[in-house]
């Protein structure tokens, strides 16, 4: 609106001198006021229809624009409970927003202010503790279950992401694929990128986490991860080279061509036959933040798998409910989101594929790395 000067001049030409003076007195001093939180709380919720948290909870309280309103009132000293944490890092709002606002990202600063005052709700404190203890448990469980994978060194760091350790078959498959592709890669113990600290609003701790982890990551040429959250945080907050496994595979997909892999070996049945068709769930961060929508489709097409697209796809995907901190804040609501998404996917095909360990677990889907690992 403000870009069309001709229009502004014509629009205000018929206003009285008194009004023009009022404009100078009342409006001009306010130019530049109003950040994204303010702009969003003044919006009638034009992304309400895509917000999965709203869709599950069915309360305006957790709708995008109202969360911004509550953040504003919180900054004014009101106690709005844990509403500001009832958000996923899905960016469905940003995708729909004409002004490119990400509600979740905007809320982080307000969460941080509350945490710094040590006034965060109990559910937030509990979410922190739950995540920390999950990481500790995972390392232990992983070693018990997959003792065959030893730490190794190489040029590229394979960083599965902490939540990938919950679905260790994805790690096993990825290592198999990286070996098959003759990648010189390193593999270490369970590490967390720290994005949950950021999401919870513990920004001081997050910065410290970055400092510590950067020392380790800095010794590699780059990082490859199964987890879109890790890749996003590495690129955006750590400023290091990172790629998602789908990008690496898509670049070398010729090596996996069914014709080349099919052999007479009876132990290697033609798995692509079994998976003649499937649907694909686009992980939010992979598609919306990293822009990776064609790579997975290219991989599936090269494997001869007929893709049955679900209605909500590509950047208009629908969240699995389990990204970020929301599942720690409200597991039953996160499950409601994943059930809804699963229902949509099952309508398209009984076989659900995806490219994110968190989505895989939430949706009871198969990671594409697993499909590929069965072929090699």
């Amino acid at each position: 609106m403000f870009s069309n000067i001709k229009w502004i001049l014509q629009a205000t030409s018929s206003s009285t001198l008194k009004t023009k003076l009022s404009l100078i007195k009342e409006a001009l001093p306010k130019v530049g006021k109003g950040d994204d939180i303010v702009r969003c709380m003044l919006c009638p919720n034009m992304c309400l229809h895509v917000c999965p948290v709203f869709d599950a909870e069915r309360r305006l309280t957790v709708s995008p624009s109202v969360k911004s309103r509550l953040a504003y009132f919180s900054s004014g000293g009101e106690d709005v409970g844990d509403a500001l944490w009832r958000c996923l890092p899905c960016n469905a709002c940003k995708q729909a927003c004409p002004t490119d606002i990400s509600v979740n990202e905007n809320l982080i600063d307000e969460r941080n202010k509350i945490c710094e005052l040590d006034e965060e709700p109990e559910s937030v404190k509990l979410a922190f503790i739950t995540h920390e203890s999950m990481i500790r448990d995972l390392e232990k469980k992983f070693r018990e279950k997959f003792g065959e994978f030893e730490k190794r060194d190489g040029k590229l760091l394979y960083f599965p992401g902490c939540r990938t350790f919950e679905v260790a078959e994805v790690i096993r498959s990825t290592i198999k694929i990286l070996d098959f592709l003759e990648i010189d890669f390193a593999f270490r113990n369970v590490l967390c990128c720290g994005s949950y600290l950021k999401e919870l609003g513990y920004l001081r701790q997050f910065r410290e986490h970055i400092r510590n982890l950067k020392d380790i990551l800095g010794s590699y040429e780059g990082v490859v991860s199964n987890c879109p959250h890790c890749v996003k945080v590495f690129l955006k907050d750590y400023g290091i080279k990172a790629i998602h496994i789908s990008q690496l595979i898509a670049g070398k997909i010729d090596r996996f061509k069914v014709t080349e892999l099919s052999s007479d070996d009876p132990d290697k049945p033609d798995k692509a036959d079994k998976l003649s068709s499937a649907t694909y769930h686009d992980p939010c961060i992979l598609s919306r933040d990293l822009g990776i929508v064609e790579e997975p489709r290219k991989i599936l097409s090269e494997l001869g798998i007929k893709l049955k697209e679900v209605g909500y796809n590509k950047k208009n995907t629908y969240c699995c409910g389990f990204g970020g901190i929301y599942p720690y804040i409200d597991t039953s609501m996160a499950s409601k989101i994943s059930e809804e998404r699963r229902k949509q996917l099952i309508e398209a095909s009984q076989t659900i594929l995806t490219f994110c360990p968190i989505c895989k677990k939430a949706l009871d889907a198969k990671d594409i790395t697993e499909v590929l690992a069965e072929l090699v």
Partner: protein, 464 residues
């Protein structure tokens, strides 16, 4: 920091009411976050106040029914305590309809969110709380569309549409919500649940007519069965430029008295400059469906305007849900609103000029513009936009509305689709004349304790 303009008169009752609601299994919250979320609709006065941490009202509790039976229980309990209930859909209404000025219970209809498509009968049954954008997407994924597309599609609900008598951007061809609605399930103010079968037409006065546009004062809409259609495969987009609004309106009349295009809009000079960077008056037309070719040929042959091709239509379609100007204006201390009226072809241009002048003449008006947005054989809807700045914004705002409504009365209907709420209530008696008392009597009959959306439409107590 939080300031509330009109405090609840019912706060001392609320603990007992909440206890009772919980006892019958209703989800209910008294948490401040929920109460702030259900404290207002989208009337612009509330936006400027928000910046100052000020809310127009605050309900004492928010109830979250999940079905009509829950709604019924809530109404029975509310009656027994004589406590107000304010119905909320998406809170996108702009006329201060849902704002709970008396306090009491805010009733969130959003959990009534089921969608069931009947492909054979081309119907969809939707819970009152289904959000329009979601419904349209679900239908689109199956090859259907509602073709009811208010600009607030993404943030308004099915129940809200029926309650406010909403109108969409393609209404010229497909009709307003009353033409798309087939049947309703409603909870009356005393808690009785009534439901009608989805039939093409019915004996006596259609019960739907009691609730379409009733803005929640006669009953609570829980479910609506709506017509759906296959997504049209073919369309053509055409735009023209005219020297004057009069010419464009006259050409529009020629079109709609022959056939109904899906989309027809005329933008005055100011809006044409803003939207299309065109000096003049722009008309955009979109025809779609089986007859699209013939309709395009008619438009090209009969419309006497300068042909502008497809681009203005594409530009408009691209931007039709972008309302981000509001968020840019408000922080500057500017108030921004729209006023829509309906009038006949006979005095269309008189209405257009009178209302525009009335708005412009109010001290503080920075800009006033208009487009014609919905068309009928008998007439059209003019949609005015104004923005103003003043030391006392509320005074300025109320003066604009007063002048615009006074200009409309007698020559136009004071509302085409936004409704009455608290904002327009004082002009309704003049608009309805003899019918006003009938509707007021009906309200008393249906809602003896005046607890459902009090202070709205036909009740001028307890308004903003």
């Amino acid at each position: 920091m939080l300031k509330i303009i009109r405090r609840s008169r019912y706060s001392e009752k609320i603990d007992e009411v909440v206890k009772e609601l919980k006892r019958v299994g209703i989800k209910v919250s008294t948490h401040l976050a929920d109460r702030i979320a259900y404290s207002k609709d989208f009337n612009p006065l509330h936006l400027n106040r928000l910046l100052d941490y000020t809310l127009p009202a605050l309900p004492d509790a928010v109830a979250f029914p999940e079905n009509a039976e829950n709604v019924s229980s809530i109404m029975q309990i509310a009656n027994s305590y004589s406590i107000p209930v304010y119905v909320f859909g998406g809170a996108s209404g702009v006329i201060d309809g849902a704002t709970p000025y008396c306090g009491g219970i805010a009733l969130s209809m959003l959990s009534l969110g089921k969608i069931k498509i009947d492909a054979e009968r081309l119907l969809v049954k939707a819970g009152a709380g289904v959000v329009g954008g979601r419904l349209e997407e679900v239908l689109n994924h199956k090859g259907f569309t509602l073709r009811h597309s208010p600009q607030s599609l993404y943030c308004s609900t099915v129940g809200g549409w029926v309650a406010t008598k909403a109108s969409g951007q393609f209404s010229t061809k497909y009709g307003n919500i009353e033409d798309i609605l087939v049947s309703l399930k409603v909870v009356m103010p005393d808690g009785e649940i009534i439901e009608a079968e989805p039939l093409p037409r019915r004996a006596f006065i259609d019960p739907n007519d009691l609730f379409i546009g009733s803005e929640g004062i006669f009953g609570i809409i829980c479910e609506a069965t709506l017509k759906i259609r296959k997504i049209p495969k073919k369309n053509h987009k055409i735009a023209f430029r005219f020297d004057s609004m009069d010419d464009a309106v006259e050409n529009a009349r020629k079109i709609v008295q022959t056939f109904k295009p899906a989309l027809l809009r005329i933008f005055d000079r100011l809006e044409s400059l803003k939207n299309f960077n065109v000096n003049g008056v722009v008309m955009i037309v979109m025809v779609e469906g089986e007859m699209a070719d013939q309709e395009r040929d008619f438009v090209l042959k009969k419309v006497e305007g300068e042909f502008l091709g497809e681009k203005p239509v594409d530009d408009w379609l691209e931007e039709r849900f972008n309302v981000s100007d509001i968020s840019k204006f408000v922080p500057l201390g500017i108030i921004f609103d729209t006023i829509e009226v309906s009038c006949s072809w006979k005095n269309a241009m008189e209405v257009y000029r009178k209302i525009l002048k009335a708005i412009r003449d109010v001290d503080g008006t920075l800009l006033a513009s208009c487009h014609a947005s919905h068309f009928y054989e008998e007439g059209l809807c003019f949609y005015f936009t104004f923005a103003g700045v003043a030391k006392n914004l509320e005074e300025y705002y109320r003066e604009v509305w007063k002048k615009a409504m006074e200009a409309a009365l007698g020559t136009a209907s004071i509302s085409h689709h936004h409704g009455i709420g608290a904002l327009r209530a004082k002009w309704l008696p003049k608009e309805l004349e003899g019918y006003y008392l009938i509707f007021r009597d009906l309200k008393t009959l249906f809602d003896r304790r005046n607890i459902l959306n009090p202070g709205k439409v036909v009740d001028m107590d307890c308004t903003g």
